[in-house]
Symmetry: C2
Subunit: 339 residues, 2 copies
């Protein structure tokens, strides 16, 4: 039998009753040490440390679980870690009985501690200590922001090596990604929250503009970063009540206008102006009428949430008018120079 036992965010106080019972009766206890800022002796007496390679390899743990009752204990919720979910599937396919004791995870606790609505949490990403690997967390944050979601960014953390990525350094890396991507996701005035040691007695939630946050001192790990999407007023109130805010949260939070909205704002009036500039419009009536029709279609599509159709239609309208301008030697302006 193989138990996956969650210790919660601040053992021993966060250990569920069932977990305590199982840890008492298990023949062998492993304590996962690569994501857990946990002193083994503090909560799990007699546990063998299980570094990353041992859990990924899995053979020792599975072999023992075939013969006796084994518990693999870990900080937070055991099934949040991909490695544990995979080890469980391997155990099941080898015919080993498995059980899980769920416990509180930072991934679900952090939003409440920041005063943010949990259901608005989008996909999670991890910032690694590698300037070449910033695109994934950057794009995840962009996609979440455009959809009005909050983003949880975990920071590279390896208890075994004693390494953790500092939140200030992580924020500066995201500024670097911004310089290349220019989507406005990590601008100087982007509001960010750093949640340190969530659930522990010295928990600290700090919030402010990226400009001020990237230089602050956050103390010891674990840390994570939350980039809030647009804020409901109750979230703004809660953030002010629960976090040390170095700057006021913006009334609307981090409202990134989606690229289709940005495009429409520039193109719809530009195409209408270009259509007006065509001399002898009667001669080109069909084309010009079509162009204006597509501008209106684009506006309607955007209102109805069909963003891609809006962009396609406004591009099409622009092409119709520009073909005339090229023929009449009025000079083309390309979408590139208009954006």
């Amino acid at each position: 039998m193989l138990w996956f036992v969650g210790l919660g965010v601040c053992p021993p106080g966060s250990i569920p009753a069932d977990a305590a019972r199982i840890l008492e009766s298990a023949d062998i206890i492993y304590l996962e040490t690569f994501t857990s800022p946990v002193e083994p002796s503090a909560c799990v007496a007699g546990a063998r440390p299980a570094p990353r390679w041992m859990v990924e390899d899995g053979r020792e743990i599975l072999d023992n679980a075939e013969r006796s009752t084994v518990a693999l204990a870990s900080y937070g919720d055991p099934m949040v870690a991909t490695t544990h979910a995979e080890l469980r599937a391997r155990a099941v396919s080898r015919g080993i009985r498995t059980g899980v004791v769920h416990a509180a995870s930072v991934a679900s606790a952090v939003f409440g501690e920041c005063g943010l609505h949990h259901y608005k949490a989008g996909r999670t990403a991890t910032i690694m200590d590698d300037a070449k690997a910033t695109l994934t967390p950057y794009q995840t944050t962009y996609r979440n922001a455009v959809s009005g979601n909050h983003t949880l960014l975990l920071l590279e953390y390896d208890v075994g090596r004693g390494f953790f990525l500092d939140p200030g350094a992580a924020l500066r890396m995201m500024r670097g990604a911004e310089a290349g991507q220019k989507r406005g996701v990590f601008a100087g005035d982007t509001y960010v929250v750093v949640a340190s040691r969530v659930g522990m007695p010295d928990q600290a939630i700090r919030a402010g503009r990226l400009d001020t946050m990237e230089g602050r001192d956050y103390g010891g790990p674990p840390h994570s970063i939350v980039v809030p999407g647009p804020l409901h007023f109750t979230e703004r109130d809660a953030l002010l009540a629960l976090a040390e805010c170095s700057d006021e949260p913006p009334p609307e939070g981090h409202a990134i206008q989606s690229i289709p909205h940005q495009m429409m704002q520039r193109y719809a009036p530009a195409v209408r102006r270009a259509a007006d500039s065509i001399p002898d419009p009667d001669r080109y009536r069909t084309i010009l009428e079509n162009a204006l029709l597509y501008v209106r279609d684009a506006e309607r599509a955007l209102e109805e949430g069909h963003d891609e159709v809006a962009v396609l239609s406004i591009g099409y309208a622009d092409g119709l008018v520009d073909a005339l301008r090229m023929q009449l030697n009025l000079g083309e302006w390309s979408p590139d120079t208009k954006m």
Copy 2:
């Protein structure tokens, strides 16, 4: 003092040690009854039931918390519920000390129980028993699927009224939304997972094609639905090991091609063919060269992840060529007829 106390997903076994300690010493205990499938007597002796209006109104709880130690206990993690986060912010602003004991929540436990990677979870939505309110869960699922995320769909649930939305009925409502939206999010072959009574002794994880899943019997609540995004092979293996699968999970999971990719697949060859069909091409060389250039720009933009620029460019190229076709009376074909 006001404590928010999480009972986890299967009390009393899931109650953290700190929570048990606080419930023993609190002067007044409220048990939130509108999201919790919990028999009060089973785990929290002497608790007063707190229906939704009482927690939303909050005055009785806050008044008592000014004078004595109050614990508000709830199923799962207390801070996942928006109502609790808001009540906490109000307490803080009234100068009342607050504390939270986090516990396991279905929102974080469910992905592991389905064998799915937790970090790929996108925004959560709730399906209400109201055919007019299906657009939000539908669109949330669409956005998550396009971004490669899994979607957790909670089902309307009111312990006080004794009402829960049946998973089969919820799936049929999503089919109704599909009929209007036609984004391919809830097709007959869409693979879905229904997670019932997560963490409880009679937990059941069932998975299969929507066609077969919408008619199954799921037993008593609580239930939730997960619509997996594209599956990593380890997720597919884990799903097969952990769920009762009435159909094989698709090798790639629910890979919805994004609308920009769908558009490009149709438009790039269509615009090239249309450009080839223009008679006397030398006369229109500038326009035709520009059109082909923009088709290539669009393809490159799509490869680089600039989907909106791709759609804008292909629309523009299409407009350039169609302006010529209109002038030459070759017949326009509009993007509408091409899609």
